[in-house]
């Protein structure tokens, strides 16, 4: 609708922009938010034999009955989160009571209450009185030390290795393969008179250093990944093609000049000379237009486009025109020329209201007028440098699409780097989806914000 010639292209261009430009503050990691256990669930517990404290973070066995079906079991308020590397919680044994028959473990939702975790199918428990690990049956297997009054015991799930792990007083006791699917509830049990256990779902500092555990787990994974070998100079090649794609011409020239003198020499494949030429398409034009837009000189950008690529700006209602007109309006608001901005909007932007896909974007943009301090308004992101960069990117891509040597207009939409990163994200997500949604996803943003300080390998 926006551009009769290449509707498909403009469509993806817009959706791309939508993701990048119009919601810059949308945090990708928000999708990963899961409910985490915060307290014990006194309703879904065996009841009668024990009392859950009013803060729902402690349990006390008051009864003197000791029948095997009178266990004081209580689950957390929700299952352990799965979209993470590991989950962990701890208990503190305040009082081991008469027999110290305390257990920590994980159980499934329909776990039979009144039984120790580990005694029933699909449940796992580390028991204090014998130090045994129980998984799904009444007979335990040798696992670790016993635990009693004053001990802090932890239970966790390592989603990377698909194992449960247990700790005692800050030290890892052991691991056991997690042979169960579906949600798992952190579970504690008491089973003799006066037993009292407090639980810590992370509200307080853990005795066990879970961060170090996770770091080590990531390091192990990193070692596996580092074993893969890369073709010579691949990173160099990808950076170079990124610079070409976005028209960062001056960076490219410096990069190439430096590459000629590096030791060891960088081997850039020679055979794809043709591809190279095609990638270099309109490099200088794209660089100049990017600079103009980055400097807020929209009128100049318009006139350059009219001179070089008249076909792109011929149609007054094309997406590219829309973006530049919007940007011009934004620059006027930035300069405080509100009257000029209003006039400009009437002259150039009003006509886009007919165009439904652009309408809501336009409305947000014009909303800048409504605020005394547009910079600090809910639509303040329009005034960020990232907005100019995004418009420049859109113009850049549109120019690339005019390359006559291009077989497929979709091909130029993303840089090689972006295609590879998308593939990486999709592979990680798909693998997790096939693994019961367990484990961490890949987020470039997290990778980039981690490790530059302090994390020395």
């Amino acid at each position: 609708m926006v551009n009769d010639r290449e509707p498909g292209f403009n469509c993806s261009l817009l959706s791309d922009l939508g993701a990048r430009l119009w919601n810059p503050d949308q945090d990708v990691s928000m999708e990963e938010k899961e409910e985490v256990p915060t307290h014990l669930n006194p309703i879904n517990s065996s009841g009668g034999f024990h009392v859950v404290s009013t803060d729902k973070l402690a349990v006390h066995y008051t009864s003197s009955q000791l029948h095997g079906h009178d266990v004081g079991v209580v689950q957390a308020n929700c299952p352990a989160p799965v979209k993470t590397l590991a989950y962990y919680f701890e208990i503190f044994v305040k009082n081991a009571g008469l027999k110290g028959q305390i257990a920590i473990g994980f159980t499934c939702e329909n776990f039979k209450m009144r039984r120790q975790p580990g005694w029933e199918a699909n449940s796992y428990g580390y028991h204090g009185d014998d130090g045994l690990l129980y998984r799904g049956q009444g007979k335990g297997e040798s696992f670790g030390p016993t635990f009693t009054s004053g001990d802090t015991i932890g239970g966790g799930i390592n989603y990377a290795t698909q194992e449960f792990f247990f700790t005692k007083n800050g030290k890892l006791v052991g691991t056991v393969y997690k042979d169960v699917k579906g949600p798992l509830f952190p579970t504690i049990a008491v089973h003799s008179q006066n037993e009292e256990v407090h639980v810590n779902f992370g509200q307080q500092q853990f005795v066990f250093d879970i961060e170090a555990f996770e770091l080590e787990e990531r390091r192990k994974q990193q070692i596996m990944i580092e074993k893969e070998s890369l073709p010579l100079s691949l990173s160099h090649l990808i950076v170079r093609s990124y610079l070409i794609h976005y028209g960062y011409e001056e960076t490219l020239n410096s990069f190439d000049a430096a590459s000629r003198t590096t030791l060891p020499p960088v081997h850039v494949a020679q055979e794809n000379g043709f591809m190279e030429e095609s990638e270099m398409y309109a490099l200088n034009h794209r660089k100049i237009l990017r600079q103009l837009i980055r400097n807020g000189e929209i009128d100049s950008a318009f006139s350059k486009l009219r001179e070089w690529y008249p076909q792109l700006v011929q149609k007054e209602t094309s997406t590219i025109c829309f973006l530049l007109h919007c940007q011009k309006f934004i620059e006027l608001v930035r300069a405080g020329l509100l009257e000029a901005a209003v006039n400009y909007a009437r002259a150039e932007l009003a006509k886009f209201f007919k165009d439904s896909p652009l309408c809501s974007l336009l409305q947000e943009c014009i909303a800048l007028l409504a605020y005394e301090e547009p910079q600090n308004s809910p639509v303040g992101h329009f005034l960020n440098m990232a907005q100019r960069e995004a418009v420049a990117d859109a113009i850049n891509t549109t120019i690339l699409s005019t390359n006559p040597n291009l077989k497929d207009s979709q091909h130029c939409l993303h840089s090689h780097l972006e295609k590879l990163l998308r593939q990486l994200s999709a592979c990680c997500l798909e693998r997790r989806a096939l693994n019961g949604d367990q484990g961490e996803a890949f987020h470039l943003h997290k990778v980039l914000s981690s490790g530059s300080k302090g994390d020395r390998r």
């Binding site: 890369l230 990808i238 001056e250 960069e389 990486l424 999709a426 592979c427 470039l444």
Partner: protein, 242 residues
């Protein structure tokens, strides 16, 4: 009887279900790829991180101007770091050691192995230049005491001194020490130590991410057939082979 076969049939079908791979068509996969959000800003950071870590100081400066991406390190320190690296690469080890100490004397103080490797490189350069007497004196005074402290240093020292025993080093078993790759190895060790001293990672993130892509595709291969990128340099998606 019929119920029996029905159950067997059911079992067989669940069996194949669990062992056969999930097939993801190109169309489905492209939709998933489109749902991925990659921030331009993050890609810029990734590129800047590469330029900075690999020491492309001018390109980093230009990239800062052209893309507005701030480097994660003071660009001036790259020039110094690259000067040290170049000095080692061209055999001026003494000069390199001086430059490292100017940058931060703690780097060599806290890194005995690096210091030893630099001294070893210096010895190699003396031998290369035929300065036998000077080499012997240097080995005895500077390197031997360190060899006494550390067994692996001693072995390396002995290996290096062995170079002196050959008139024609081109055929000697430790000739690799004279190879350019030995200089590059030492140079990259110094480079890494300087970066670490500046609280910066010693390796760029991009190669790790590319390796991660290869790894992630291999991992997913076990569970699904999907369009792969086999040639990372073209980033072309190839249809799954079923």
């Amino acid at each position: 009887m019929s119920l029996f076969w029905f159950v067997v049939g059911q079992l067989a079908s669940t069996e194949t279900m669990s062992t056969s791979k999930k097939v993801i068509t190109r169309e489905e996969w492209e939709k998933k790829l489109n749902d991925v959000k990659i921030r331009k800003e993050d890609m810029n950071k990734l590129v800047m991180n590469f330029l900075v870590t690999e020491g492309y100081v001018e390109a980093a400066e230009k990239f800062r101007m052209e893309s507005g991406t701030e480097p994660d390190i003071d660009l001036a320190t790259i020039t110094d770091r690259m000067a040290v690296k170049k000095a080692v690469q061209s055999g001026n080890v003494e000069d390199a050691i001086e430059k490292v100490n100017d940058l931060n004397p703690e780097i060599l103080d806290t890194n005995p192995q690096l210091f030893f490797h630099l001294q070893q490189q210096r010895l190699i350069e003396l031998i290369r230049n035929g300065k036998v007497e000077e080499a012997l004196e240097f080995a005895q005074e500077e390197l031997a005491p360190r060899g006494e402290e550390n067994q692996s240093f001693l072995e390396e020292l002995e290996r290096t001194v062995a170079l002196l025993a050959f008139e024609d080093v081109s055929n000697c078993p430790v000739g690799d020490l004279l190879d350019i790759s030995q200089r590059l190895k030492t140079a990259s060790e110094v480079n890494a130590a300087i970066l670490t001293s500046q609280s910066h990672e010693k390796d760029p993130k991009l190669p790790s991410l590319l390796k991660m892509l290869i790894w992630a595709q291999n991992q997913l291969d076990e569970k699904a057939a999907y369009p792969r990128i086999n040639d990372l340099s073209t980033a072309a998606l190839e249809d799954p082979s079923i």
